[in-house]
């Protein structure tokens, strides 16, 4: 069941839209922030609340790459793989991350600490290569910096 806090947070967002479904992406994000990811159960609860069919809501949820329909780790790493980061070595950064964490793109570490995902241009091209962990942007990456950055996320 959606909690009172979840409903309260969603109502603020839903009030901005002419139709209830207009706020469904915001609502998915509220749920994801509180529950980590969107399970089938969460999806069904939310669809009911938004007066949408489950399939309709799922078609939206699966369209957007930052809505997670599978469990993710405590921290999500979004590695920019667009052209400026590619030209300045994001592939080496990715290789190093994969090697250090023992996972490839799309996977989560066994201890559920990190999920590693590719991402479209992060708009940090003047500090390429760049990545985000949760809400934090990290730029001017070099292999040596990665360990120190990862250590900040428990």
């Amino acid at each position: 069941m959606l909690t009172r806090e979840e409903l309260a947070e969603m109502d603020v967002e839903l009030a901005h839209y002419e139709q209830k479904r207009g706020g469904c992406i915001e609502a998915l994000k509220v749920l994801q922030r509180r529950r980590g990811w969107i399970s089938d159960q969460s999806l069904a609860e939310l669809a009911d609340f938004l007066e949408m069919s489950v399939d309709d809501l799922d078609s939206v949820a699966t369209f957007y790459n930052l809505i997670f329909r599978k469990p993710v780790g405590r921290h999500v790493i979004l590695v920019c793989d667009s052209v400026s980061c590619w030209a300045t070595g994001c592939e080496q950064i990715l290789d190093y991350l994969a090697e250090t964490l023992g996972i490839t793109l799309g996977q989560t570490t066994a201890d559920r600490r990190f999920t590693l995902l590719p991402n479209a241009c992060l708009g940090a091209c003047d500090h390429a290569p760049a990545l985000m962990i949760d809400a934090d942007l990290h730029g001017d990456l070099r292999r040596q910096k990665i360990d120190e950055i990862l250590a900040r996320y428990e």
């Binding site: 139709q19 479904r21 994000k29 052209v83 400026s84 479209a120 241009c121 708009g123 091209c125």
Partner: protein, 424 residues
């Protein structure tokens, strides 16, 4: 040199709060606009200023605003949407404006909203711009508290609400009709045009979608007039422009310069030229969906018409540099992988054609290419070009491919002949 867009931005520091923004002359333009009480005149001023949309397409802003039905034809609510979904690879200019001076954007929104008689505005912000989200939300709250937003703004009778919508990913959301679907809580698939958004947009209501940089130019135009804005420029398009450079240059970054600064000035004076040991081969003038220009075209002026005359597009004005130690086939493969992944999947040529290009380019890059692959690539630049797809994503994707095939033909052929990538 005047830098009206960025003069109050201190990178790395907190943006001006409302008190500092007002002290620097902020919200003066809004007071003037409300006192003049002439939305039609304001649209004319913006038209006369030769402000063209800074999101990449360069549509004249005043003209776009004039398409909203007025008077007896008026339909309400009218929506104003700020496209802050900056995701064009190589583009990082709106981030500076959003993080650096959010009140400038808010003031621009209120003035633009007044001109088109809007009732509600949305800032459509990409989810990854978390700092911008935080700062814009704060600026909106401050503006509400001061009576610049909400009901009966400064006693003028004009009301406007501004909401911040943080998105959930996908490049296609930057396409204005896909953005409308995203805001309606749907899959971000572009809509058929016509009807165009100024008449039938969000929930079927009149809607203007403008880029962040475009709207940030509006306060100074409203305050100082069209002539002054045009005088800032070195070209027929008005104003200054945020230009950027990324890639193997000495000082990657962003600079506000008169519209029409040359590529040479931006690249050599401001970005410091190429890093030692790296030579320039080509540039993409304004993001991943603009044609490559060769290194001997540095004297091209970076305005809409000049770059187009040179065979490319100004796009977002943030250029990407290709150096001599980077494989052009690999770079184009990276671009096509991006576009293939970001295709919304709605129309067949884009959904199927882009992955085919990726596989063909992968084969060439991996030394498994054949001579006939060149013909396949060439043919696709036409098949995925304008008129064959539902929106501009695939035509944009083949712009760098088409220009790259011409410019780097010998590099492609070397891959095929020697059955490996010469850069590996």
């Amino acid at each position: 040199m005047e830098r009206p867009l960025t003069e109050n931005i201190r990178p790395g520091q907190f943006p001006p709060g409302i008190v500092d923004y007002e002290r620097a002359g902020g919200y003066r333009a809004l007071r003037k606009v409300l006192a003049d009480a002439d939305p039609g005149g304001l649209i004319k001023t913006v038209t006369d200023s030769h402000l063209r949309g800074r999101g990449g397409a360069g549509f004249p802003t005043g003209r776009k605003w004039s398409f909203v039905p007025r008077g007896e034809q008026a339909v309400h609510p009218v929506y104003l949407i700020i496209n802050a979904d900056e995701m064009e690879p190589g583009t990082f200019k709106d981030r500076l404006l959003l993080e650096g001076n959010p009140h400038q954007l808010i003031e621009g929104i209120i003035i633009a909203g007044y001109a088109i008689e809007a009732d509600t505005a949305f800032i459509f912000l990409r989810r990854e711009y978390t700092l911008a989200e935080h700062r814009c939300a704060r600026a909106i709250a401050e503006a509400c508290e001061r009576g610049y937003l909400g009901r009966d703004i400064l006693g003028s009778g004009f009301s406007l609400d501004v909401y911040l919508h943080s998105s959930a990913g996908r490049y296609i959301c930057g396409e204005e009709t896909a953005l409308l679907n995203a805001l309606e809580g749907r899959r971000a698939i572009p809509r058929a045009k016509p009807p165009f958004p100024p008449v039938t947009g969000l929930w079927g209501k009149p809607t203007i979608v403008n880029n962040v940089e475009t709207i940030c130019n509006v306060p100074q135009i409203a305050e100082h007039g069209a002539d002054r804005f045009r005088a800032l420029s070195n070209s027929v398009d008005g104003g200054t422009k945020l230009y950027g450079v990324s890639g193997r240059v000495k000082k990657p970054g962003l600079w506000e310069l008169p519209m029409g600064a040359s590529i040479r000035e931006i690249l050599e004076e401001h970005a410091g030229g190429m890093k030692d040991g790296w030579a320039l081969r080509a540039i993409m003038p304004g993001g991943a969906s603009t044609e490559f220009l060769p290194a001997d075209r540095l004297d091209v002026k970076m305005d809409f018409d000049s770059v187009e005359a040179a065979g490319s597009r100004l796009g977002t004005g943030t250029m990407i540099v290709l150096d001599d130690r980077t494989c052009p086939v690999g770079m184009i493969l990276n671009l096509m992988r991006f576009f293939a992944r970001e295709s919304c999947g709605w129309c067949t040529p884009c959904r199927e054609g882009l992955p085919w290009l990726v596989r063909t380019l992968e084969a060439i890059e991996n030394g498994e290419g054949q001579a006939a692959d060149m013909e396949i690539l060439h043919r696709h630049t036409g098949l995925l070009g304008p008129g064959h797809t539902f929106c501009a994503l695939a035509p944009g994707a083949v712009e760098p491919l088409q220009s790259g095939l011409a410019l780097f033909e010998e590099d492609f052929l070397r891959h095929i002949r020697q059955k490996s990538c010469p850069w590996k």
